[in-house]
Amino acid sequence: MNANDLKRLAPGAEARPASRLAADSLTERAAAEGLVDVAVATMDSPIGELQVAVTSKGLVSIAFEDEHRDEVLERLTREVSPRVLEAAALTDEARRELEEYFRAERRRFDLRIDRRLIGEFAWNVLRATSRVGFGELATYGQIAQRIDRPKAARAVGRALGSNPIPIVIPCHRVIGAGGSLTGYAGGLPRKQTLLRLEGSIL
């Protein structure tokens, strides 16, 4: 026997698909044993594919397809837990509510929010933003007033721009004082699509 003969017992190219199947069953077992701290899944939507992340505390992030998703996963790893796994089943509720929203069958989300990626000031801003209902709009200045920081419109804009949970925390409903849509972290076309879906703009 040549020692190299042993290699013929080992899977070559087929190790990748075989280990993919094994990894998929692993994820199911990890979820059942409560070892998935951050469950990640992707879903299609009218504003492109979304990467949704959920923890035991609730929805923690939504990332657009052209954002740096790997950076989002790395941030979750650092700031929440490195046990980040693609476990679609654990994100079912979040994806279902989002799908209902995009079909215009849902006007408010009932999902719990995990605010671990949101700082103190940003949380005040985003909480005030969450009270702007479906079909309504607010200006940056109005949000600033609602959190008793009337001069902080610019800081409000920055907090909205770093919203880790767009759509569900509706930063797209906040616009410029003159009625212009101004900016959106996911790009203006996405903001327009969302506001059209809600009937706020034509």
Partner: protein, 159 residues
């Protein structure tokens, strides 16, 4: 002390290492048991993952866990009760013909677990003795002896 690199999300770590772990286990415990031991390996890794400090050595870390699981699995399998004479009602799923027909499988299976694991690291994954020693938690001398004895035994069986 934390290593120079930061820990990747577990999903990335799994993607980067699943093929080599699977390759190792297919020979070390056999194709029929590889899936089970693969899961035990990565579940153990997932439990310990937040406490890992040497993020730049994750490939060695997971192969060390897989080595322990392969050795433990082999020992556990040896203690299992012998099957009874009653045939099972459902025929047992047969592995691919290529796997069972090869007498080399029987020879590998007959090796003591530590020799078997050492031989697979050396001759399937082409690892250096220094690394095999680290993966198996033994001295380099012991790693060499395990590879030597195991290889010698395989040659005798296959002669």
């Amino acid at each position: 002390m934390r290593g120079s690199t930061t820990l990747p999300p577990f999903q990335k770590f799994l993607e980067a290492n699943r093929a080599i772990v699977y390759r190792f286990l297919t020979v070390a415990v056999g194709p029929q048991e590889a899936d089970d031991v693969f899961q035990e390996t990565f579940i153990a890794a997932l439990r310990a993952y937040p406490r890992v400090r040497e993020a730049d050595k994750l490939d060695r870390w997971i192969l060390a866990i897989a080595s322990r699981k392969a050795i433990d699995h082999h020992r556990g399998a040896g203690r299992r009760p012998m099957p009874t004479d009653d045939p099972p009602e459902q025929p047992v799923h047969d592995p691919p013909v290529r796997d069972t027909d090869d007498p080399l499988w029987a020879a590998v299976r007959s090796l003591p677990p530590r020799q078997r694991v050492a031989v697979v690291h050396r001759h399937v994954l082409d690892r250096a003795y220094e690394e095999i020693a680290e993966l198996m938690g033994c001295s380099e001398q012991t790693a060499r002896a395990n590879v030597y004895q195991g290889t010698k035994r395989l040659r005798e069986l296959m002669a």
